[in-house]
Amino acid sequence: MPEILVKYEDKVIEKFITEKKRVSIGRTPNNDVVLDNRGVSRHHATIEFNEDQALIIDNESLNGTFVNSRKVSEEILKDNDVITIGKFNLIYYKDAQKDENVFGLDGTMVLKTKKQKEILEKDKLSRQLTSEAGCSILLGEAGAEQDKYPLAHAVVTIGRSKLANIKAKGMFLSGVQTKIVRDGDDYWLVNLGRKGKTKVNGEKVERYMLKNDDLIQVGRTVFRFIENRT
């Protein structure tokens, strides 16, 4: 059974597990998931479940619906996707989580338009960069030699040696530490070299399906994954 974990500023305020085929999200009380905030439209978005898939639809809301920091009008959700609506983050789990603590909501929410503006600008810039590259890209952050790296090939490697497409630095880093493999629309990050040297959003990974805005760390070098959407 799918679950939607509703967070407000990293605080879990609701855990929504449903068997319904259609879940409405909005500000007014007649929604299934009520996000009581002025930044949220009355009937902001809908999630439709059919068989194995969940589709989020933005109901032409004023402030928009974001999936993994990317503005969407319709989007098929993947497990662990983060839906941002106003200051709320809704995490979609394909199967309900078992042991989450759900905390109450203290009810004093004010939409900071600055955050809304930031997320929109970030999304616009990401779209511009991927559209220029014609493919998904890595943005070089701490320690990277370049600002951006197009992921134009079926396999792109990151590591210390001449063999690696993208150079990374760090103690005991393998020559080809990490590969990014394209599989249809998905990008898989695979740690080939020494264990623990590839991290996504701070967690060590061996094999991981990348999501937009994921922070990849190979040794001491940091990249941000920006997914191309056409």
Binding site: V155, G159, S161, G175, V181, L192, G193
Partner: protein
């Protein structure tokens, strides 16, 4: 000091063990591996582990590269692709880790080591004839370049005048006024008509490079390949060295 250079083991454990025993007999001081630990043969994991034990300098071959999933096998022939699919499924995680540290090229004194060719090493070009040889002399500055990849040993030297001459001897003294491109042959799947494993020894005192051929029990390798259902053509070629 005596150096040994070996290449193209291709998961042939019997051949590798025989060659490593021979390193001891020859009292080799330093051992260099020029790539293709895996592909074709039945013992990829054991070979990677042994190579890692004996050799500090290890190069990446195209089969190793493919085994790591870094290139597709569409350029491989049918038999190579078939055995590569099996190899990928068989590789243990810690062996992948060892291979992820294989280098593209290495330098030892005035020797350049590369698996395929000094011209674009990562493109895995084959040096098959004298035109390829002459072309490749332009792509290294060192006195000697050692390659593997084609499984066919050769020594070509370039004289001061610029002529490329192929040597038909099994050993050559490295001359001061000449440069060399040498294919060191293959341990695990020789293709020069001699089924014995082949590697190269260099004596830093006498400046002599010398091929060494080592017999091994290819029946055992063939038996293991058959048991695993690896392609018959790859099994049969070991006995004839073709």
């Amino acid at each position: 000091m005596k150096y040994a250079f070996f290449s193209d083991v291709h998961a042939n454990l019997e051949a590798l063990k025989a060659v490593i025993l021979d390193f001891r007999t020859e009292k080799i001081d330093r051992i260099f591996f020029l790539g293709d630990a895996v592909g074709y043969g039945p013992n990829p994991n054991e070979c990677i582990e042994l190579i890692d034990k004996v050799s500090k300098v290890k190069l990446m071959g195209n089969h190793d590269y493919a085994a790591l999933g870094l290139m597709e096998t569409e350029y491989f022939n049918q038999y190579a692709a078939e055995s590569m699919a099996w190899t990928r499924d068989s590789l243990e995680r810690n062996k992948i880790e060892i291979m992820s540290d294989f280098e593209l090229t290495a330098k030892v004194g005035d020797f350049l080591l590369v698996h395929s060719s000094p011209k674009e090493p990562q493109m895995w070009h084959y040096i098959l004839d004298m035109n390829d040889v002459e072309d490749n002399f332009k792509y290294f500055k060192e006195k000697v370049c050692l390659v593997g990849h084609t499984h066919r040993p050769f020594i070509v030297f370039k004289s001061e005048k610029g002529d490329c001459v192929i040597s038909h001897k099994t050993e050559e003294k490295i001359q001061k006024n000449q440069r060399y491109l040498i294919n060191i042959g293959s341990v695990g799947q020789p293709r020069d008509g001699d089924p014995r494993s082949c590697y190269l020894i260099y004596d830093t005192k006498s400046h002599i490079v010398r091929y060494k051929r080592v017999s091994y029990n290819f029946d055992e390798t063939q038996r293991r390949m058959s048991a695993l259902g690896l392609p018959g053509y790859l099994i049969e070629r070991l006995a004839v060295g073709r």
